[in-house]
Symmetry: C2
Subunit: 324 residues, 2 copies
Amino acid sequence: MNSIPDLSSLLRPIRLQLDGVDTLLHAVLERADEPVRSALAPLLDGGKRLRPAVVLLIARLYNRESAPFERLAAALEMLHTATLIHDDVIDQAQLRRGHQTLHTMWPTGPAVLAGDYLLAEAVSVTAALGIPRIVQILADALRAMCAGEIKQALQRERPSDLREAYYQTIEAKSASLFAAAAEMAGLLAEAGEAQVDALRTFGQELGIAFQMVDDILDLTGASAELGKFPGADLQQGLITLPVLVYLEMAEDATPVQSVLNGKRDAERVSTAVQAVLDSGAMELASEEARTHAVRGRAALCILPDNTWRHILDDLLAFVVQRRS
Amino acid sequence: MNSIPDLSSLLRPIRLQLDGVDTLLHAVLERADEPVRSALAPLLDGGKRLRPAVVLLIARLYNRESAPFERLAAALEMLHTATLIHDDVIDQAQLRRGHQTLHTMWPTGPAVLAGDYLLAEAVSVTAALGIPRIVQILADALRAMCAGEIKQALQRERPSDLREAYYQTIEAKSASLFAAAAEMAGLLAEAGEAQVDALRTFGQELGIAFQMVDDILDLTGASAELGKFPGADLQQGLITLPVLVYLEMAEDATPVQSVLNGKRDAERVSTAVQAVLDSGAMELASEEARTHAVRGRAALCILPDNTWRHILDDLLAFVVQRRS
């Protein structure tokens, strides 16, 4: 893979269109009454805007007029933010995108409803594109996300096949929405069926690689979320990719097992993180993320060969090389 | 208004179509994985099916093939159930449709996600009808419901105009979805613009009248929800219609004010309920509900004059005359 510039340079060619997405998101805030407006504003403001970027790059790939793609991109960012609001209620998270989470400021009820409000806006904006199939893909992605998260939240004992469970989880959590974003953009661009399939695969692999690198960054403490410490996911009992790889190869996994079994004091978490770092699991996990990026790149082959395809390729490279 | 038969007799002419809706709801459960399936089954099973009935009667009014209307009706019932799941999380309610509420069996997180799952299904089924405008109406109704409920949940002091606040609340809570149901059915039937508007008004007034009678039944303890006692809403500090009317006319409203101000023991609630019953506020509240039913009936005038319009009329009469 190429050595890649930072995200902001990478997305410079679609900066105007990304600004257009921000304008649409602000319009959604404008038409919300208080207190919904002030509550949602900081949540819609942050984020890497990767899903919108995928949509906007696909518009350019097919040389399409930008406006409807900006609306689709805004809808995806709203749906994504809505799921983050509900996730934060569930996880009782304190910070999101550098701001206090909504449920720390509001009671649970209105926080849940604010997520629903954004879901409704996302559906409304998507429906206004006039292509029912695109709405269905959005809804099906949401359904897959919910089903996966419910399953994960309610499982009483550790699944017997940890690797299978891990892939199911990250597909629900990240890959399904990236895959939907790329597929919807392909349909909106009126790409042929084979190309839409390829775009979906690209989105899927991008989402998987993205989540895997998130997992890796959790252990180095370089996670994008402010206020996180190394091993925050592990402390919550989550089996992230490096932990999974470690469990698959460690002769004596006691330091990590004891945290997973509920002994979650800071010292034990720190010892467990060090054990994973010392084991070589991080390198293997990075390798696995790169494998998915390569698969994403392979899917791009049948798409129009122009600058924009190369930027999609660079986006894959960015996702696996990023340090935060 | 006519004296009307019970709901089951009233809906007998569309019994087959209502069974079709049940079949579609079961199909949604069938495609859900466990534990989502078992959790949602009892919630989707109960209820009066009033929103589906409105949709199915409008199909017959225009002599349209039933299948797409059954799908729309199922989507509305799913959306309605999804909002009930989230409402029950918010209110910490124990019973719904005679069953334990979902959040009493599951942690808050998965219960919220199960609501999202049903929202996604509702959107997907609606989108499959192939008419983007209908999806937008569904989404806009959801948005209005959320905005209204957030506002109500977060208000720190009692609003200065209680009557205006009451109408805003019930429009968000009940009327918006009934109005959307009738409007969507009209669009699906390809009724003309004026008739679609009339149907929306019919739905709106039906929803307002329905909620007003719910308010009245709360004070007589005849509420359809098992395990409720007279004045359950009042005990929660909610200003229902009879309470509003009482506050508007009572010279000394102390018994009710003290409950609203937070003294919510059983004896004070019982005294407050008796004060409202003795005041004549119930009769005035019933009269107000009937006024909205009459407005709903007036909206029906421009629709095709056939048996089905008369059943829509009877539905209005049922809603204001019902005793549970």
